[in-house]
Subunit: 391 residues, 3 copies
């Protein structure tokens, strides 16, 4: 165990470059457990979503923040959480994450806190918005009269979002798979696809048309804001091998002349492929969000694989936390401990210098994200906290 290394490596406050809001409700045991899995079904007979690396990590790191022993039973933990109330529990949990800045994807459905409320519960952290692309199209389709109006409304929505957001996010992996044609669809194709979609779409129906999904990617690329793309594992809506980030290789090539930056999210178990893309394409970055949270005691091993090829200036931190403040705690704690263990270990065996380790820790924890998203730089793009998104 890299005990001394752990204390020696200073990791600055974190920039969480991809997360979501939290659920304000007092959660019953089943609802709480449902946030511990990417499954959309009840657990199999005789099994529990608490019996996972993530469940064990929550029981390891969260009870002490609510005044309980580590590894207490789920029942004890939830009882204590209810006694404190969801708001107070969130305040205690988020206050202990060491996250200084949140980049919040506001496009996830459900009654979740917005970025402002999240950051306030996190002890006055800074926040920024990342706009999810597909809901922009779905909202435009809900109200537009015909494909021309739809495409105009969508273009306006993207432009408006680019004014207040720090980045875009695509969930094309969930809606189709990343095995999309890489090139920019021609206007006539987009028009035809829009026409077809609007004709057949039920109200509220999700966008799955591959031409329109590509149109969104290219519309985002044209704004020159960083474009986050979900890759790798997630809920069962996606087919994992069709979410391999390497399927984006030709898109990465095609989009390069626009000046767009592509940030690959999660990537597991294809993270070595994502690391490769980040190593050979200057405009590609990667994070491991969901992957560290869900692998718990193995987070350091997964991060280690990511640190094989990813240039140290290209790796970003995120929790991908969603619904439970506990997931911020676990995401941040596992990341910091994994990073300390790895970098501390390499210093201890002489492979790295301590100075380099400290420098890399700061890069991955916060500096890379600040540079990529131009956070807090008045000379590059305006930083305007305080405008809670309505979407």
């Amino acid at each position: 165990m890299p005990g001394t290394a752990l204390t020696a490596l200073a990791i600055p406050p974190l920039v969480d470059q991809h997360c979501h809001g939290i659920d304000r409700r007092e959660l019953a045991a089943g609802d709480f457990a449902a946030y511990l899995t990417e499954s959309d079904a009840p657990p199999a007979t005789g099994t529990s979503f608490f019996d996972t690396q993530l469940g064990f990590a929550v029981r390891r790191w969260c009870p002490p923040l609510l005044g309980l022993e580590p590894h207490c039973t789920p029942g004890h933990y939830l009882e204590r959480r209810r006694a404190l109330g969801a708001a107070e529990a969130a305040r205690r949990l988020l206050g202990a994450t060491g996250i200084a800045e949140y980049l919040v994807d506001t496009g996830i459905p459900g009654d979740l806190t917005g970025p402002r409320e999240l950051a306030a519960a996190g002890g006055g952290a800074t926040w920024h918005e990342v706009v999810r692309l597909e809901p922009l199209a779905e909202r435009a389709a809900d109200t537009a009269d015909g494909p021309g109006a739809f495409l105009d409304a969508l273009a306006t929505a993207v432009t408006d979002a680019a004014r207040h957001a720090v980045g875009f996010k695509s969930v094309a992996a969930y809606r189709h798979g990343l095995d999309l044609p890489p090139d920019r669809p021609r206007p006539a194709q987009v028009r035809t696809a829009a026409d077809q979609w609007l004709l057949t779409r039920a109200p509220g129906e999700r966008l799955t048309d591959p031409v329109l999904l590509r149109h969104l990617l290219w519309s985002a690329a044209d704004t020159a804001l960083p474009l986050q793309v979900h890759t790798g594992f997630g809920d069962p809506d996606l087919t994992l091998h069709r979410s391999d980030p390497l399927l984006l290789t030709d898109f990465v090539r095609a989009v390069r002349p626009t000046g767009a930056t592509v940030v690959l999210l999660h990537c597991y178990p294809y993270h070595r492929g994502a690391a490769y893309l980040a190593s050979v394409f200057p405009h590609v970055y990667a994070d491991m969000g969901l992957a560290l949270t869900h692998t718990g005691a193995r987070a350091h091993a997964v991060l280690a694989e990511m640190l094989e090829l990813t240039p140290f200036g290209k790796l970003l931190f995120s929790t991908d936390a969603y619904g439970l403040p506990e997931l911020y705690v676990v995401g941040a704690e596992l990341f910091r401990r994994a990073l300390s263990r790895l970098l501390g270990g390499w210093v201890a065996e002489g492979a790295w210098s301590a100075a380099d380790a400290g420098r890399v820790a700061a890069m991955v924890a916060a500096d890379n994200a600040r540079r990529v998203y131009r956070l807090g730089r008045s000379d590059s793009r305006p930083y305007r906290p305080g405008t809670e998104p309505s979407g």
Copy 2:
């Protein structure tokens, strides 16, 4: 080394959820070595099948059970084995595995022991049969007169097997690849495929028709018995990237309404994908059989990857042992040591509680398999040891 953890973690007697019979013959060196590899050819000039992780693991764990030093030469070991006789060697080796219950795939060709004889040599262990699907079709084809009679005979064989077996097994990966259409083939398709196959089939020829392979999968699913599917590496009959368990994703989705349980076998090197499927689909389970045996000193590292996403109630133990009693020894020993090392390590570093580690060890070693296959539960399905299969 987790020395104290190793002794502290109690692992109950094992349920080996997937294995085969053993070879009763006195084996010459070449025949013995051929069981150490998935290759179907002699070793390359200047190389030996003993010079593999599996070969080294056999030399580590088996000689002491026959009164020799660990790591003695293959020559010394085989000499001692011959001096004892194959039967006595098998008795000593199987008696030391700690396997309490064998689930035996009886569909592998060759003069192997049946489950009863295997369990008896194992010191009176319990046994159950897993019926391999493809030989049911091949035996029906050997005798049936026309496609109608063939399909009737096959249906009867599946129904009969479901009465005495605890599960089915498919080797579609070897016969075609897992890149099969996922849906249930229509009766007319099945009839046409049967007609075609019977017209062109040489006696004893193996089934490779994709429609009939799918018909077998769906026939097994209809019995509601667990369906084991070979995935990942094996002998050179298969093409590895066409055996990725993720290729079963759409089948897993399609078969879900039947209530069938799918058990992914081996999975290596695609085990993280299998773990994902087990994590998001309630009816999917996974084991690592062959993978731990063949990776020897690396078994803990491979198991660790499997324990990233697999819910702890979804992972099963097997040896996939075949031919040599030595492979039971190695499979069981490597599994127990890998599990102890990992879980003990996580307890030692504070990530897991000792109580949780013990509970998870019992689940993976035996309890999960007992629940999935309803072993020894008189109230669920009859447990009838003692009916040696004729097939």
Copy 3:
């Protein structure tokens, strides 16, 4: 840390089975750094190619050889290198690698040292040539008058190369991807493809035609010299998932009757698939060249995965060094340390015997390559050092 194991494991002088020449120029910082990455572009704003595992490994292992402290800054290192002069720096660096024998791919473009000059700078090491296939076709196309003359000239070039080289190398992964039809193209196909290529080819244009790429593979196979195939990661000319060595499975099957030996290079991150191929096909071998160099502090972890399935008589060592003598130092040092750490660790925990570990170390470091390439065996094929290739 396997301190005692490290000193206990004797690793003989290395045979580097795949490398390139070095750049003779005094290199500016940017030119030096460009050799540390597979990217063909400048580093992203705010990042440096020195901030990678390879950059850190160079700074760990090379400064002491030039009289500096480990981990000194890139600036200090390059200053010292310039003060010594490129030739003297190369002499000091190459002299410390412990490489006794170089197998040099002479087909890479640029003003690099030939094998003789490289071996001389390496303190009088032995050298052999590996002939890259695609440039043979490109040179034949540059001068031939029509497809018949082109194919004749190409056949002559292959035959001539087989007289002085110890192996061939294919970069079909860069030129098309490994998803090529596996079978030998028919003469009429080859003729048509040659005709088409010559008609449309600009002078100096690279070969990307899939039929001609296959013709090269089969022409090399017919010589019975070992055929090295680039697989896995490399520069952004390739698409990584189309470079998976498993895509060669059917080619491996098809080429087996010719007696050809296939050596899979690099393989990362698909090295477990390459290990599988080496384990089930007697004529398949694998190395990890580029993968160890670029993963630096993680080299032991990557090598460990390769040592899961690869039979110990099937794994070869290489640096894949190119341009910088530093890459020979790093490749050799990381390999030796990774091998010592792994094998020493397995001995320390009792999984392997010390004698086996020493034997395997000698096999992987040198003996396997000597056997595969028939090096220094006057009774098998003539060993003729001293004929510097002109190509």
